[in-house]
Symmetry: C2
Subunit: 377 residues, 2 copies
């Protein structure tokens, strides 16, 4: 275990699997549970590093698939790596690029050694292997790097999921062997579809590699939420207690609250920024569309209980007006608020875990969120 990536558990909940911890990286600590906003091209859409800092987020995720194509991992390396390129000085995480490649569907062919695909941008044929995915991520220079994995769709057969588990295990081993840099934490990714025994095989296999962290992949791919949570509940207990656990691509408030209770430490999702660009903002009382005409005269903030820089400065009327004018500031302000809202949510969970009140906090929050949802739907 690299000393730069110490993971310290600070508190565990007595009634659930929730835990609070601190994950050190060369660019600073991440207090867990943590929500990480997604910066596809290295930058969280519409936000500058100072905006992201203002949300309270500590770690930013960037997509290797997109960056490797444009501007290219070599160019970013030449410009000093992702941190210098983007101006974000805190911890960063890059994915392997695999998830985007697997989404290409018709455009890719998979074998045991890797995956060949055509770029969605220019049709160029490209190849991703575990070694190449790691090489790209070493050029990009994030603090946390992800192994190339085979992410199975939902639904998928037992045989397909089993093959994906084997392949992902071998690719994790190859990734660990290929790693050159000692200042990056390599995370393995648990697969296994919705099959408990495959999830177990995958988790145990990866755990035997003693990696600095583990992700739970292949969830939130279209399955019902109850299935997501059931698989998660069976997977996290099989992962080492003293390593951070990262649930990929999950970010709806109620999912965060539930998954924290199942022992997840790290989350990422494009949801808050994507919703923001579509003019929707999070409130304790449910999502709100900025298009509603009556908001133009609303003097209060988006959410009076929110401590974010948007809610403490701007009226909902101003935001609604910017949104109607299609002014890019609307997306920016809504993005700052939405990311802040999720960061505050996980920080509340963290405080409750440390104070020993998580189970009550969770029950209360899930009730409020369920009421809000039924109002909206």
């Amino acid at each position: 275990m690299m000393p730069a990536f110490r993971f310290q558990l600070q508190a565990v909940c007595a009634k659930t699997l929730a835990r609070a911890g601190r994950f050190d990286t060369p660019h600073g600590p991440i207090d867990t549970p943590a929500f990480m906003p997604v910066g596809t091209q290295g930058t969280v859409k519409a936000l500058l590093p100072a905006d992201v800092r203002a949300t309270g987020a500590q770690c930013v995720l960037a997509n290797t698939y997109h960056l490797a194509q444009r501007p290219g991992a070599e160019i970013i390396a030449r410009l000093g790596g992702l941190h210098r390129f983007t101006g974000w000085r805190g911890p960063m995480l890059t994915d392997s690029g695999g998830f985007q490649v697997f989404s290409l569907d018709e455009l890719r062919t998979l074998d045991d050694d890797g995956v060949t695909f055509r770029s969605h941008l220019d049709g160029r044929e490209l190849r991703l292997t575990p070694e190449r995915a790691l090489e790209l991520q070493e050029q990009l220079g994030a603090d946390i790097v992800m192994q190339l994995d085979e992410c199975t769709p939902y639904p998928c057969s037992y045989a397909t999921a089993a093959t994906a588990v084997e392949r992902t295990q071998r690719w994790a081993e190859r990734s660990a062997r290929a790693q050159q840099r000692t200042d990056q934490a390599l995370f393995g990714i648990v697969q296994g579809g919705m099959f408990p025994d495959l999830r177990e095989r995958s988790a145990r296999g990866l755990a035997s590699l003693d990696l600095p962290g583990y992700a739970i992949g292949g969830l939130s791919v279209g399955e019902p939420k109850e299935v997501t949570m059931a698989v998660l509940a069976e997977t996290t207990p099989l992962l080492p207690l003293d390593r951070p656990r990262y649930l990929m691509g999950v970010g709806a408030p109620q999912d965060l609250v539930r998954a924290i209770g199942l022992g997840v430490d790290l989350f990422d999702c494009v949801l808050p920024t994507r919703l923001a660009r579509n003019g929707a903002v999070f409130r304790r009382g449910g999502r709100l569309s900025l298009s509603r005409a009556e908001l133009l005269t609303a003097e209060g903030p988006i959410d009076a209980t929110c401590a974010c820089p948007v809610c403490t400065t701007h009226s909902l009327g101003y935001l609604a007006s910017l949104h109607r004018e299609r002014e890019p500031l609307a997306a920016r302000l809504a993005s700052i608020h939405n990311v802040s809202a999720l960061v505050q949510l996980v920080q509340e969970a963290r405080a409750a875990i440390i104070n020993g009140t998580f189970a009550d906090w969770q029950a209360e929050r899930l009730r409020t969120l369920a009421a809000a949802r039924s109002l909206v739907e």
Copy 2:
């Protein structure tokens, strides 16, 4: 003269008409010469108040025509006025809306009492009189408000220009009589086309009203630059020395440098932000398009002599990459830089006036800018 709007001359150039001063407003001072970025809808496109502050700009301009239609001056008044609505705490200026109405051409009819026009948004018939323009601006609540004037096109006949001068004079008188608020400085606007005797008549007529400031309108409407400067040179000496002079709609670097030498104190222009949204940035060595492929690997800043937050943080390679991805941050960063570049230019002019070196500085700057232009064109 309202005490809140004291204008103090701090230095005058011995060789040109340039002057350095300080114009106090209820929301703080404006050190002149000053460049004011344009916030059409109250907000400088793509920039938050903190971004605008980071450019060094002290005063922001907003367009009454646009704000009065959406969200409406009454709504802004109800939300606490422009300063609270936008979160910009420094001085603000609103135009009268006349310039936009006169640009509507086919959609408007003019009489001695005012102008009737159809909204470019929804075709509604609307009417603007000197009193109504002032009322709208009192609802908006900027520090500096502009009289409704008749802005003549280029070219235009002597008779048309003469009528516009008479009308603008009467409208200035009506505006002054209509004014209710004592915390807003009403500026008159000199018209007269390109005719020196009409410009003189207009300047003297308005000066007799003892207004807190004067604008030079009807320039930069398509005439050759040499004509603009010739008319300006004949107009500014006719305006009171102890009142700020505002040249409307001028912002190209070489025009700023020349007009400051002709005794102008205030400027506004959409140029820096519009260019930025189109991916062009100012450099001492000339404008640069962010689309150029070789910029993707450029490690240095846009302009190594620029002290703006973009040039001190980000590489040109990063900006070029954001621009290629059509990421809204590209427009934002380029806008911050471009506005900063003009603010720094007028601040340099100001320092040179105070140090007594303006004439040399001006000659040197005009040489550099001419060389840069010939390189670009």
